[in-house]
Symmetry: C2
Subunit: 177 residues, 2 copies
């Protein structure tokens, strides 16, 4: 099937069965929520839209996003939960209680073997300013924008070691063409 003149192997044309489907969130497990929340709120400007605690199963979920305004986020917790699950492009951080106290505990980033998940990616309005901001916050770089074959693409690590790509949309004209 063709979409905008491009042909790709296997692609089907969506049907009415999938109307209204949207990619709500991606879930990553984090060792210490205090450290991870500090990182994603300060360095990437995210807000905790909703937190859900499951005492019996001893874990907590934190849903983070970039709401346009505070006012659009409902005050009522039930309404806010429903609103959160209707959003697009959120990050869910899962904390299994107690991992933060284990000195040698670490999650797997998916890029070392065995591979699978690769990264999350943020787009930013000004990549150069973002790089300076990461330096000011002692963020660990995997690759700066002027390094490697893919110019204008930055990779950093989050505090659990997960890879984060950072791009400026209008600099991405056609890196593969």
């Amino acid at each position: 099937m063709s979409f905008k003149g491009e042909q790709h192997p296997g692609v089907k044309t969506p049907t009415a069965h999938t109307d209204g489907f949207r990619l709500n969130h991606t879930m990553l497990r984090v060792k210490d929520p205090e450290v991870a929340l500090a990182f994603y709120t300060r360095v990437f400007g995210m807000r905790v839209l909703r937190r859900l605690d499951f005492e019996e199963m001893r874990f907590s979920l934190y849903f983070l996003g970039h709401p346009e305004t505070d006012e659009q986020v409902p005050d009522d917790q039930g309404e806010r939960t429903a609103w959160t699950f209707g959003q697009l492009g959120l990050l869910e951080l899962t904390h299994n209680w107690g991992t933060e106290d284990k000195a040698d505990f670490a999650y797997h980033d998916g890029n070392a073997e065995p591979q699978g998940f690769g990264h999350i990616c943020f787009s930013v309005p000004d990549l150069e300013a973002a790089e300076a901001w990461f330096d000011a916050n002692q963020v660990e770089f995997i690759k700066r924008s002027d390094q490697g074959k893919m110019k204008n693409v930055v990779f950093v690590k989050d505090v659990d070691g997960y890879w984060i790509e950072v791009v400026q949309a209008d600099l991405m004209a056609a890196p593969g063409d």
Copy 2:
């Protein structure tokens, strides 16, 4: 810091340094793009917004999303790439050429050990209809909406074994309260 009356460990109030940051995409490696693209376009209604081929490094990237209309997606490939990187909540599938021909090759889902990445999540307008749609397409369930402790939460596997959560936003009032 408080946002909507909630306190969470470590949370900082975002500054102007992160204005305009948005979560553009999540990247998963897939063994066979023909199989993975058929799955995400047919079963989850996604469109391939942009494909980038890197011949020298022998991999291809497929960026998938749910555009509101075909018309909002630019025809020009360079413009479409920039548009794609400005979107929210996309899925990037990476195909390292040749993996589809290796009988025993499989990616790691992040839920078996070593753990890290957990899942992606789609919200849908009608969870019961979505379950019937998954059955009609022979999708493998991990958990149906009426199973387990978390009612109204469905988990299925994609064709590489990655976990996909499926929820209906207005049924998620407050599962953890």
